[in-house]
Point group: C2
Chain length 292, copies 2
Protein backbone atom coordinates (compact mmCIF):
# COMPACT_ATOMS: atom_id res chain seq x y z
CA UNK A 1 0.00 0.00 0.00
CA UNK A 2 1.29 3.45 -0.92
CA UNK A 3 2.08 6.05 1.75
CA UNK A 4 -0.68 8.43 0.57
CA UNK A 5 -3.89 7.92 -1.34
CA UNK A 6 -2.96 10.94 -3.43
CA UNK A 7 0.01 13.28 -3.73
CA UNK A 8 -0.19 16.65 -5.47
CA UNK A 9 3.01 18.34 -6.56
CA UNK A 10 2.47 22.04 -7.16
CA UNK A 11 5.33 23.35 -9.30
CA UNK A 12 6.78 20.23 -10.99
CA UNK A 13 10.28 21.61 -11.70
CA UNK A 14 13.61 19.98 -10.86
CA UNK A 15 12.58 18.95 -7.33
CA UNK A 16 8.87 18.37 -7.90
CA UNK A 17 9.28 16.35 -11.10
CA UNK A 18 11.96 14.25 -9.41
CA UNK A 19 9.49 13.36 -6.62
CA UNK A 20 6.88 12.49 -9.26
CA UNK A 21 9.35 10.34 -11.18
CA UNK A 22 10.31 8.50 -7.99
CA UNK A 23 6.62 8.03 -7.15
CA UNK A 24 5.91 6.64 -10.64
CA UNK A 25 8.88 4.31 -10.58
CA UNK A 26 8.29 2.82 -7.14
CA UNK A 27 4.51 3.12 -6.72
CA UNK A 28 5.23 3.54 -3.01
CA UNK A 29 4.55 7.24 -2.49
CA UNK A 30 0.90 7.56 -3.54
CA UNK A 31 -1.85 5.73 -5.42
CA UNK A 32 -2.72 8.85 -7.38
CA UNK A 33 -0.23 11.49 -8.58
CA UNK A 34 -1.32 15.03 -9.35
CA UNK A 35 0.81 17.74 -10.96
CA UNK A 36 -0.35 21.35 -10.86
CA UNK A 37 1.19 24.51 -12.26
CA UNK A 38 0.10 27.89 -13.58
CA UNK A 39 2.30 27.54 -16.69
CA UNK A 40 0.59 25.77 -19.64
CA UNK A 41 4.04 24.92 -21.07
CA UNK A 42 5.07 23.15 -17.86
CA UNK A 43 1.77 21.23 -17.77
CA UNK A 44 2.15 20.18 -21.42
CA UNK A 45 5.66 18.92 -20.72
CA UNK A 46 4.52 17.00 -17.62
CA UNK A 47 1.80 15.35 -19.71
CA UNK A 48 4.36 14.33 -22.33
CA UNK A 49 6.67 12.96 -19.63
CA UNK A 50 3.75 10.93 -18.22
CA UNK A 51 4.78 11.46 -14.60
CA UNK A 52 1.33 12.26 -13.17
CA UNK A 53 -2.16 10.74 -13.36
CA UNK A 54 -3.82 14.15 -13.26
CA UNK A 55 -2.29 17.33 -14.68
CA UNK A 56 -4.12 20.55 -13.87
CA UNK A 57 -3.89 24.31 -13.56
CA UNK A 58 -6.69 24.25 -10.97
CA UNK A 59 -5.12 24.67 -7.51
CA UNK A 60 -8.36 23.87 -5.71
CA UNK A 61 -8.49 20.53 -7.52
CA UNK A 62 -4.85 19.74 -6.61
CA UNK A 63 -5.59 20.75 -3.01
CA UNK A 64 -7.92 17.73 -2.64
CA UNK A 65 -4.89 15.43 -2.35
CA UNK A 66 -4.00 13.72 0.92
CA UNK A 67 -0.52 15.28 0.64
CA UNK A 68 0.04 18.61 -1.07
CA UNK A 69 3.68 19.41 -1.78
CA UNK A 70 4.59 22.96 -2.76
CA UNK A 71 7.68 22.89 -5.00
CA UNK A 72 7.45 26.56 -5.94
CA UNK A 73 10.29 29.08 -5.39
CA UNK A 74 10.96 30.22 -1.81
CA UNK A 75 9.33 33.60 -2.40
CA UNK A 76 6.09 32.02 -3.68
CA UNK A 77 5.51 29.47 -0.89
CA UNK A 78 3.36 31.61 1.37
CA UNK A 79 1.10 32.89 -1.43
CA UNK A 80 0.66 29.36 -2.84
CA UNK A 81 -0.11 28.00 0.64
CA UNK A 82 -2.78 30.70 1.05
CA UNK A 83 -4.27 29.64 -2.29
CA UNK A 84 -4.49 25.91 -1.55
CA UNK A 85 -5.15 25.72 2.21
CA UNK A 86 -8.87 26.69 2.08
CA UNK A 87 -9.52 23.72 -0.25
CA UNK A 88 -7.50 21.15 1.72
CA UNK A 89 -9.27 18.24 3.41
CA UNK A 90 -9.17 17.30 7.12
CA UNK A 91 -6.50 14.62 7.66
CA UNK A 92 -4.33 15.91 4.83
CA UNK A 93 -0.79 17.28 5.05
CA UNK A 94 0.73 20.36 3.45
CA UNK A 95 4.48 20.30 2.84
CA UNK A 96 6.96 22.41 0.90
CA UNK A 97 10.62 22.18 -0.12
CA UNK A 98 11.72 25.77 0.54
CA UNK A 99 15.45 26.06 1.18
CA UNK A 100 15.11 29.08 3.48
CA UNK A 101 12.68 28.88 6.37
CA UNK A 102 12.57 32.39 7.87
CA UNK A 103 9.08 32.85 9.36
CA UNK A 104 7.34 30.48 6.93
CA UNK A 105 6.73 27.80 9.59
CA UNK A 106 4.73 29.83 12.14
CA UNK A 107 3.12 31.95 9.39
CA UNK A 108 1.63 28.99 7.55
CA UNK A 109 0.89 27.07 10.77
CA UNK A 110 -1.38 29.98 11.76
CA UNK A 111 -3.36 29.64 8.51
CA UNK A 112 -4.13 25.89 8.77
CA UNK A 113 -7.77 24.78 8.55
CA UNK A 114 -8.87 22.27 11.21
CA UNK A 115 -7.35 18.80 10.77
CA UNK A 116 -4.66 19.86 8.28
CA UNK A 117 -0.98 19.53 9.23
CA UNK A 118 1.98 21.47 7.88
CA UNK A 119 5.34 19.64 7.78
CA UNK A 120 7.84 21.34 5.47
CA UNK A 121 11.14 19.76 4.44
CA UNK A 122 14.21 20.94 2.58
CA UNK A 123 15.77 18.28 0.35
CA UNK A 124 19.45 19.24 0.04
CA UNK A 125 19.77 18.10 -3.51
CA UNK A 126 19.80 19.79 -6.84
CA UNK A 127 21.70 20.38 -10.02
CA UNK A 128 22.39 23.55 -11.95
CA UNK A 129 19.43 22.72 -14.21
CA UNK A 130 15.75 23.50 -13.70
CA UNK A 131 12.28 22.68 -15.05
CA UNK A 132 10.34 19.40 -15.40
CA UNK A 133 12.90 17.95 -17.82
CA UNK A 134 15.75 18.40 -15.33
CA UNK A 135 14.34 16.00 -12.72
CA UNK A 136 15.33 12.38 -12.20
CA UNK A 137 14.14 9.71 -9.80
CA UNK A 138 17.45 9.27 -7.96
CA UNK A 139 18.05 12.98 -7.25
CA UNK A 140 17.52 12.51 -3.51
CA UNK A 141 19.41 9.28 -2.99
CA UNK A 142 21.81 9.52 -0.04
CA UNK A 143 21.14 13.25 0.22
CA UNK A 144 19.78 14.91 3.33
CA UNK A 145 16.24 16.18 3.67
CA UNK A 146 15.99 18.57 6.61
CA UNK A 147 12.51 18.55 8.16
CA UNK A 148 11.43 21.74 9.92
CA UNK A 149 7.98 21.07 11.39
CA UNK A 150 6.51 24.16 13.11
CA UNK A 151 5.37 24.02 16.73
CA UNK A 152 2.02 22.30 16.78
CA UNK A 153 2.71 19.83 13.94
CA UNK A 154 1.48 16.34 14.90
CA UNK A 155 3.92 13.47 15.21
CA UNK A 156 2.02 11.21 12.84
CA UNK A 157 2.21 13.89 10.12
CA UNK A 158 5.92 14.45 10.73
CA UNK A 159 6.49 10.71 10.46
CA UNK A 160 4.62 10.49 7.16
CA UNK A 161 6.67 13.28 5.55
CA UNK A 162 9.83 11.68 6.95
CA UNK A 163 8.75 8.41 5.34
CA UNK A 164 8.01 10.20 2.06
CA UNK A 165 11.59 11.44 1.82
CA UNK A 166 13.03 8.12 2.91
CA UNK A 167 11.07 6.50 0.08
CA UNK A 168 12.80 9.03 -2.21
CA UNK A 169 16.15 7.70 -0.96
CA UNK A 170 17.01 10.60 1.35
CA UNK A 171 18.27 10.66 4.93
CA UNK A 172 16.19 12.91 7.17
CA UNK A 173 16.90 15.11 10.16
CA UNK A 174 14.50 17.29 12.18
CA UNK A 175 15.71 20.82 12.94
CA UNK A 176 14.29 24.10 14.21
CA UNK A 177 13.92 26.85 11.59
CA UNK A 178 16.66 29.17 12.86
CA UNK A 179 19.26 26.43 13.07
CA UNK A 180 18.30 25.28 9.57
CA UNK A 181 18.82 28.77 8.17
CA UNK A 182 22.18 29.24 9.92
CA UNK A 183 23.47 25.90 8.67
CA UNK A 184 22.36 26.54 5.10
CA UNK A 185 23.90 30.03 5.13
CA UNK A 186 27.27 28.46 5.95
CA UNK A 187 27.24 25.28 3.88
CA UNK A 188 25.34 26.46 0.84
CA UNK A 189 24.37 30.14 0.58
CA UNK A 190 27.78 31.65 1.43
CA UNK A 191 29.67 29.28 -0.93
CA UNK A 192 27.27 30.21 -3.72
CA UNK A 193 27.63 33.93 -2.98
CA UNK A 194 31.43 33.61 -3.06
CA UNK A 195 31.35 31.54 -6.23
CA UNK A 196 29.15 34.05 -8.03
CA UNK A 197 31.37 36.86 -6.76
CA UNK A 198 34.72 35.41 -7.80
CA UNK A 199 33.34 34.91 -11.31
CA UNK A 200 32.11 38.50 -11.19
CA UNK A 201 35.53 39.76 -10.02
CA UNK A 202 37.26 37.89 -12.85
CA UNK A 203 34.73 39.28 -15.29
CA UNK A 204 35.37 42.85 -14.07
CA UNK A 205 39.14 42.63 -14.59
CA UNK A 206 40.89 43.44 -17.85
CA UNK A 207 40.10 41.55 -21.03
CA UNK A 208 43.56 40.00 -20.72
CA UNK A 209 42.81 38.56 -17.28
CA UNK A 210 39.35 37.39 -18.36
CA UNK A 211 40.90 35.46 -21.24
CA UNK A 212 43.56 34.02 -18.94
CA UNK A 213 40.94 32.87 -16.44
CA UNK A 214 39.38 30.87 -19.22
CA UNK A 215 42.74 29.41 -20.25
CA UNK A 216 44.05 28.54 -16.81
CA UNK A 217 40.89 27.84 -14.82
CA UNK A 218 42.13 24.39 -13.81
CA UNK A 219 44.46 25.99 -11.26
CA UNK A 220 41.77 26.43 -8.63
CA UNK A 221 39.29 28.85 -10.17
CA UNK A 222 37.33 26.04 -11.81
CA UNK A 223 36.32 24.48 -8.50
CA UNK A 224 34.43 27.67 -7.71
CA UNK A 225 32.53 27.86 -10.95
CA UNK A 226 30.56 24.62 -10.87
CA UNK A 227 28.15 25.95 -8.28
CA UNK A 228 28.18 29.38 -9.93
CA UNK A 229 26.25 27.84 -12.82
CA UNK A 230 23.07 27.53 -10.75
CA UNK A 231 19.75 29.23 -11.51
CA UNK A 232 20.03 33.02 -10.92
CA UNK A 233 16.40 33.63 -10.00
CA UNK A 234 16.33 30.79 -7.47
CA UNK A 235 19.54 32.04 -5.87
CA UNK A 236 18.42 35.65 -5.89
CA UNK A 237 15.32 34.57 -3.95
CA UNK A 238 17.32 32.44 -1.51
CA UNK A 239 19.77 35.27 -0.82
CA UNK A 240 16.92 37.72 -0.14
CA UNK A 241 14.92 35.22 1.94
CA UNK A 242 17.90 34.43 4.19
CA UNK A 243 19.48 37.88 4.04
CA UNK A 244 19.96 38.47 7.77
CA UNK A 245 21.76 35.23 8.51
CA UNK A 246 23.62 35.18 5.19
CA UNK A 247 24.97 38.74 5.55
CA UNK A 248 26.08 38.00 9.10
CA UNK A 249 27.91 34.88 7.87
CA UNK A 250 29.45 36.88 5.02
CA UNK A 251 30.65 39.50 7.54
CA UNK A 252 32.44 36.80 9.50
CA UNK A 253 33.96 35.47 6.31
CA UNK A 254 35.15 38.92 5.20
CA UNK A 255 36.63 39.52 8.67
CA UNK A 256 38.46 36.17 8.43
CA UNK A 257 39.67 37.00 4.90
CA UNK A 258 40.93 40.37 6.11
CA UNK A 259 42.68 38.63 9.00
CA UNK A 260 44.43 36.41 6.46
CA UNK A 261 45.23 39.48 4.32
CA UNK A 262 46.77 41.20 7.33
CA UNK A 263 48.91 38.13 8.08
CA UNK A 264 50.06 38.04 4.45
CA UNK A 265 50.75 41.81 4.42
CA UNK A 266 52.97 41.39 7.50
CA UNK A 267 54.53 38.16 6.16
CA UNK A 268 53.42 36.58 9.46
CA UNK A 269 54.23 32.98 8.55
CA UNK A 270 52.83 31.42 11.72
CA UNK A 271 49.49 33.22 11.44
CA UNK A 272 49.11 32.23 7.78
CA UNK A 273 49.83 28.54 8.38
CA UNK A 274 47.52 28.45 11.41
CA UNK A 275 44.65 29.66 9.25
CA UNK A 276 45.50 27.25 6.44
CA UNK A 277 45.80 24.33 8.89
CA UNK A 278 42.29 24.97 10.21
CA UNK A 279 40.97 24.64 6.69
CA UNK A 280 42.84 21.38 6.17
CA UNK A 281 41.38 19.95 9.37
CA UNK A 282 37.82 20.35 8.10
CA UNK A 283 38.81 18.85 4.77
CA UNK A 284 40.36 15.81 6.46
CA UNK A 285 37.23 15.24 8.54
CA UNK A 286 35.13 15.45 5.38
CA UNK A 287 37.27 12.77 3.79
CA UNK A 288 36.91 10.60 6.91
CA UNK A 289 33.13 11.13 6.70
CA UNK A 290 33.36 10.26 2.99
CA UNK A 291 31.65 13.51 1.99
CA UNK A 292 34.54 14.62 -0.22
CA UNK B 1 68.73 11.86 -29.26
CA UNK B 2 67.65 13.35 -25.95
CA UNK B 3 67.03 17.10 -25.57
CA UNK B 4 69.89 17.55 -23.07
CA UNK B 5 73.04 15.59 -22.37
CA UNK B 6 72.25 15.87 -18.67
CA UNK B 7 69.38 17.25 -16.57
CA UNK B 8 69.75 17.98 -12.86
CA UNK B 9 66.63 18.35 -10.76
CA UNK B 10 67.36 20.16 -7.52
CA UNK B 11 64.55 19.45 -5.07
CA UNK B 12 62.90 16.25 -6.41
CA UNK B 13 59.46 16.73 -4.76
CA UNK B 14 56.06 16.52 -6.45
CA UNK B 15 57.10 18.57 -9.50
CA UNK B 16 60.77 17.58 -9.72
CA UNK B 17 60.19 13.85 -9.28
CA UNK B 18 57.43 13.99 -11.89
CA UNK B 19 59.89 15.49 -14.39
CA UNK B 20 62.41 12.76 -13.51
CA UNK B 21 59.80 10.03 -13.90
CA UNK B 22 58.80 11.43 -17.30
CA UNK B 23 62.46 11.62 -18.31
CA UNK B 24 63.04 7.99 -17.23
CA UNK B 25 59.95 6.73 -19.00
CA UNK B 26 60.52 8.44 -22.33
CA UNK B 27 64.30 8.78 -22.47
CA UNK B 28 63.68 11.97 -24.46
CA UNK B 29 64.58 14.65 -21.92
CA UNK B 30 68.22 13.87 -21.12
CA UNK B 31 70.82 11.14 -21.45
CA UNK B 32 71.84 11.50 -17.82
CA UNK B 33 69.47 12.34 -14.94
CA UNK B 34 70.73 13.90 -11.73
CA UNK B 35 68.73 14.44 -8.54
CA UNK B 36 70.08 16.71 -5.82
CA UNK B 37 68.69 17.68 -2.45
CA UNK B 38 69.93 18.71 0.98
CA UNK B 39 67.67 16.17 2.71
CA UNK B 40 69.23 12.69 3.12
CA UNK B 41 65.73 11.20 3.48
CA UNK B 42 64.66 12.64 0.12
CA UNK B 43 67.84 11.37 -1.54
CA UNK B 44 67.34 7.88 -0.08
CA UNK B 45 63.79 7.81 -1.36
CA UNK B 46 64.87 8.96 -4.85
CA UNK B 47 67.47 6.18 -4.91
CA UNK B 48 64.81 3.64 -4.00
CA UNK B 49 62.48 4.99 -6.67
CA UNK B 50 65.30 4.67 -9.25
CA UNK B 51 64.35 7.87 -11.05
CA UNK B 52 67.87 9.33 -11.43
CA UNK B 53 71.27 8.08 -12.59
CA UNK B 54 73.12 10.20 -10.06
CA UNK B 55 71.76 11.15 -6.63
CA UNK B 56 73.76 13.71 -4.70
CA UNK B 57 73.73 16.30 -1.95
CA UNK B 58 76.55 18.16 -3.71
CA UNK B 59 75.07 21.19 -5.49
CA UNK B 60 78.31 21.94 -7.35
CA UNK B 61 78.21 18.44 -8.81
CA UNK B 62 74.57 18.81 -9.89
CA UNK B 63 75.43 22.22 -11.38
CA UNK B 64 77.58 20.52 -14.04
CA UNK B 65 74.44 19.43 -15.91
CA UNK B 66 73.50 20.97 -19.25
CA UNK B 67 70.12 21.87 -17.77
CA UNK B 68 69.72 22.65 -14.08
CA UNK B 69 66.10 22.77 -12.90
CA UNK B 70 65.38 24.27 -9.48
CA UNK B 71 62.26 22.63 -8.04
CA UNK B 72 62.66 24.17 -4.60
CA UNK B 73 59.97 26.30 -2.88
CA UNK B 74 59.43 29.85 -4.22
CA UNK B 75 61.24 31.41 -1.27
CA UNK B 76 64.36 29.29 -1.81
CA UNK B 77 64.85 29.83 -5.55
CA UNK B 78 67.16 32.84 -5.37
CA UNK B 79 69.44 31.34 -2.70
CA UNK B 80 69.66 28.03 -4.58
CA UNK B 81 70.42 29.84 -7.83
CA UNK B 82 73.22 31.73 -6.07
CA UNK B 83 74.60 28.38 -4.85
CA UNK B 84 74.63 26.63 -8.24
CA UNK B 85 75.35 29.41 -10.75
CA UNK B 86 79.09 29.74 -10.04
CA UNK B 87 79.55 26.04 -10.91
CA UNK B 88 77.44 26.07 -14.09
CA UNK B 89 79.07 25.49 -17.47
CA UNK B 90 78.97 27.80 -20.52
CA UNK B 91 76.19 26.65 -22.86
CA UNK B 92 74.03 25.35 -20.02
CA UNK B 93 70.56 26.55 -18.97
CA UNK B 94 69.19 27.30 -15.52
CA UNK B 95 65.43 26.97 -15.07
CA UNK B 96 63.03 26.89 -12.13
CA UNK B 97 59.35 26.13 -11.57
CA UNK B 98 58.47 28.92 -9.14
CA UNK B 99 54.77 29.77 -9.19
CA UNK B 100 55.31 33.44 -8.29
CA UNK B 101 57.78 35.47 -10.33
CA UNK B 102 58.11 38.82 -8.55
CA UNK B 103 61.63 40.10 -9.23
CA UNK B 104 63.21 36.64 -9.62
CA UNK B 105 63.72 37.02 -13.37
CA UNK B 106 65.89 40.17 -13.46
CA UNK B 107 67.56 39.28 -10.13
CA UNK B 108 68.85 35.93 -11.34
CA UNK B 109 69.54 37.20 -14.87
CA UNK B 110 71.97 39.69 -13.30
CA UNK B 111 73.88 36.85 -11.60
CA UNK B 112 74.45 34.67 -14.69
CA UNK B 113 78.02 33.64 -15.53
CA UNK B 114 79.02 34.09 -19.19
CA UNK B 115 77.30 31.65 -21.55
CA UNK B 116 74.64 30.51 -19.11
CA UNK B 117 70.96 31.22 -19.85
CA UNK B 118 68.08 31.51 -17.39
CA UNK B 119 64.63 30.45 -18.65
CA UNK B 120 62.20 29.81 -15.80
CA UNK B 121 58.79 28.19 -16.28
CA UNK B 122 55.76 27.62 -14.10
CA UNK B 123 54.01 24.30 -14.74
CA UNK B 124 50.38 24.84 -13.68
CA UNK B 125 49.93 21.37 -12.34
CA UNK B 126 49.95 19.80 -8.94
CA UNK B 127 48.02 17.79 -6.43
CA UNK B 128 47.45 18.30 -2.73
CA UNK B 129 50.34 15.88 -2.05
CA UNK B 130 54.08 16.58 -1.88
CA UNK B 131 57.46 14.85 -1.77
CA UNK B 132 59.22 12.46 -4.18
CA UNK B 133 56.54 9.78 -3.72
CA UNK B 134 53.78 12.15 -4.83
CA UNK B 135 55.09 12.61 -8.38
CA UNK B 136 53.91 10.79 -11.49
CA UNK B 137 55.00 10.96 -15.10
CA UNK B 138 51.69 12.25 -16.51
CA UNK B 139 51.31 15.15 -14.05
CA UNK B 140 51.87 17.76 -16.76
CA UNK B 141 49.82 16.23 -19.55
CA UNK B 142 47.53 18.80 -21.15
CA UNK B 143 48.38 21.29 -18.44
CA UNK B 144 49.89 24.71 -19.10
CA UNK B 145 53.49 25.59 -18.44
CA UNK B 146 53.93 29.36 -18.42
CA UNK B 147 57.41 30.39 -19.52
CA UNK B 148 58.71 33.70 -18.16
CA UNK B 149 62.16 34.27 -19.71
CA UNK B 150 63.81 37.47 -18.44
CA UNK B 151 65.01 40.15 -20.83
CA UNK B 152 68.27 38.95 -22.32
CA UNK B 153 67.39 35.24 -22.46
CA UNK B 154 68.44 33.75 -25.80
CA UNK B 155 65.85 32.32 -28.17
CA UNK B 156 67.58 28.97 -28.50
CA UNK B 157 67.51 28.52 -24.71
CA UNK B 158 63.83 29.52 -24.52
CA UNK B 159 63.06 27.01 -27.27
CA UNK B 160 64.85 24.20 -25.42
CA UNK B 161 62.92 24.79 -22.18
CA UNK B 162 59.71 25.04 -24.19
CA UNK B 163 60.57 21.68 -25.78
CA UNK B 164 61.36 20.20 -22.35
CA UNK B 165 57.84 20.98 -21.11
CA UNK B 166 56.24 19.81 -24.35
CA UNK B 167 58.07 16.51 -23.90
CA UNK B 168 56.45 16.39 -20.44
CA UNK B 169 53.06 16.67 -22.16
CA UNK B 170 52.39 20.33 -21.32
CA UNK B 171 51.19 23.22 -23.46
CA UNK B 172 53.44 26.27 -23.17
CA UNK B 173 52.90 30.02 -23.31
CA UNK B 174 55.45 32.83 -22.95
CA UNK B 175 54.45 35.69 -20.65
CA UNK B 176 56.07 38.67 -18.93
CA UNK B 177 56.52 38.31 -15.16
CA UNK B 178 53.94 40.90 -14.06
CA UNK B 179 51.22 39.47 -16.24
CA UNK B 180 52.05 35.98 -14.98
CA UNK B 181 51.66 37.09 -11.37
CA UNK B 182 48.37 38.92 -11.99
CA UNK B 183 46.90 35.92 -13.79
CA UNK B 184 47.96 33.49 -11.08
CA UNK B 185 46.61 35.76 -8.34
CA UNK B 186 43.19 35.60 -9.99
CA UNK B 187 42.99 31.99 -11.17
CA UNK B 188 44.88 30.27 -8.39
CA UNK B 189 46.03 32.31 -5.38
CA UNK B 190 42.73 34.08 -4.65
CA UNK B 191 40.67 30.87 -4.98
CA UNK B 192 43.04 29.16 -2.56
CA UNK B 193 42.89 32.08 -0.12
CA UNK B 194 39.08 32.01 -0.21
CA UNK B 195 38.97 28.24 0.16
CA UNK B 196 41.25 28.30 3.20
CA UNK B 197 39.22 31.16 4.64
CA UNK B 198 35.77 29.61 4.23
CA UNK B 199 37.03 26.50 6.02
CA UNK B 200 38.44 28.77 8.71
CA UNK B 201 35.13 30.65 9.04
CA UNK B 202 33.23 27.37 9.41
CA UNK B 203 35.76 26.21 11.95
CA UNK B 204 35.35 29.41 13.98
CA UNK B 205 31.56 29.07 14.22
CA UNK B 206 29.75 27.13 16.94
CA UNK B 207 30.35 23.43 17.45
CA UNK B 208 26.83 22.88 16.12
CA UNK B 209 27.60 24.61 12.83
CA UNK B 210 30.97 22.87 12.52
CA UNK B 211 29.24 19.49 12.86
CA UNK B 212 26.58 20.53 10.36
CA UNK B 213 29.20 21.62 7.82
CA UNK B 214 30.60 18.11 7.96
CA UNK B 215 27.14 16.57 7.56
CA UNK B 216 25.86 18.78 4.76
CA UNK B 217 29.03 19.73 2.89
CA UNK B 218 27.65 18.42 -0.39
CA UNK B 219 25.48 21.54 -0.71
CA UNK B 220 28.27 23.73 -2.07
CA UNK B 221 30.82 23.91 0.72
CA UNK B 222 32.58 20.76 -0.48
CA UNK B 223 33.61 22.32 -3.80
CA UNK B 224 35.67 24.84 -1.85
CA UNK B 225 37.48 22.31 0.28
CA UNK B 226 39.27 20.27 -2.35
CA UNK B 227 41.82 22.98 -2.99
CA UNK B 228 41.94 23.84 0.71
CA UNK B 229 43.73 20.51 1.26
CA UNK B 230 46.93 21.78 -0.36
CA UNK B 231 50.31 22.08 1.34
CA UNK B 232 50.24 24.92 3.94
CA UNK B 233 53.93 25.84 3.73
CA UNK B 234 53.89 26.03 -0.05
CA UNK B 235 50.80 28.22 -0.01
CA UNK B 236 52.10 30.39 2.79
CA UNK B 237 55.19 31.10 0.67
CA UNK B 238 53.14 31.75 -2.47
CA UNK B 239 50.86 34.19 -0.63
CA UNK B 240 53.84 36.08 0.77
CA UNK B 241 55.76 36.06 -2.53
CA UNK B 242 52.79 37.46 -4.48
CA UNK B 243 51.39 39.59 -1.65
CA UNK B 244 51.04 42.89 -3.52
CA UNK B 245 49.09 41.53 -6.46
CA UNK B 246 47.15 39.02 -4.37
CA UNK B 247 46.02 41.58 -1.79
CA UNK B 248 44.95 43.94 -4.57
CA UNK B 249 42.94 41.13 -6.18
CA UNK B 250 41.43 40.24 -2.79
CA UNK B 251 40.43 43.89 -2.30
CA UNK B 252 38.57 43.84 -5.58
CA UNK B 253 36.89 40.60 -4.57
CA UNK B 254 35.84 41.96 -1.17
CA UNK B 255 34.49 45.10 -2.84
CA UNK B 256 32.48 42.92 -5.25
CA UNK B 257 31.23 40.75 -2.36
CA UNK B 258 30.18 43.87 -0.47
CA UNK B 259 28.42 45.12 -3.59
CA UNK B 260 26.48 41.86 -3.68
CA UNK B 261 25.79 42.16 0.06
CA UNK B 262 24.40 45.65 -0.44
CA UNK B 263 22.15 44.42 -3.26
CA UNK B 264 20.89 41.60 -1.01
CA UNK B 265 20.39 43.97 1.95
CA UNK B 266 18.24 46.23 -0.27
CA UNK B 267 16.50 43.23 -1.89
CA UNK B 268 17.58 44.75 -5.22
CA UNK B 269 16.56 41.85 -7.43
CA UNK B 270 17.97 43.26 -10.67
CA UNK B 271 21.40 43.99 -9.17
CA UNK B 272 21.63 40.49 -7.65
CA UNK B 273 20.74 38.70 -10.87
CA UNK B 274 23.10 40.89 -12.90
CA UNK B 275 25.99 39.80 -10.68
CA UNK B 276 24.94 36.15 -10.78
CA UNK B 277 24.54 36.26 -14.58
CA UNK B 278 28.11 37.51 -15.00
CA UNK B 279 29.35 34.47 -13.08
CA UNK B 280 27.30 32.15 -15.24
CA UNK B 281 28.74 33.67 -18.39
CA UNK B 282 32.29 32.74 -17.38
CA UNK B 283 31.14 29.26 -16.45
CA UNK B 284 29.48 28.77 -19.83
CA UNK B 285 32.62 29.87 -21.65
CA UNK B 286 34.66 27.43 -19.56
CA UNK B 287 32.34 24.62 -20.61
CA UNK B 288 32.66 25.69 -24.26
CA UNK B 289 36.47 25.68 -23.82
CA UNK B 290 36.12 22.25 -22.17
CA UNK B 291 37.96 23.44 -19.06
CA UNK B 292 35.08 22.53 -16.75
Amino acid sequence: MALFKSLAVIGPGLIGSSVLRRACETGLLADQLIAADISPAVLDRVRELKIADLVTNNMAEAAQAECVMLCVPVGAVEATARAVLPSMQPGSILTDVASVRGKLGPTIQALLPAGVDYVPGHPMAGTEHSGPDAGFSTLFENRWCLLVPPEGAHDHAVQKIQKLWELCGARTKILPDDKHDRICAMVSHLPHLLAFTICDTADNLSEEIRAAVLDYAASGFRDFTRIAASDPVMWRDIFIANKDVLLETLDRFVADAQGMAQAIRESDEAAITTRIERGRRIRRTLIENRQA
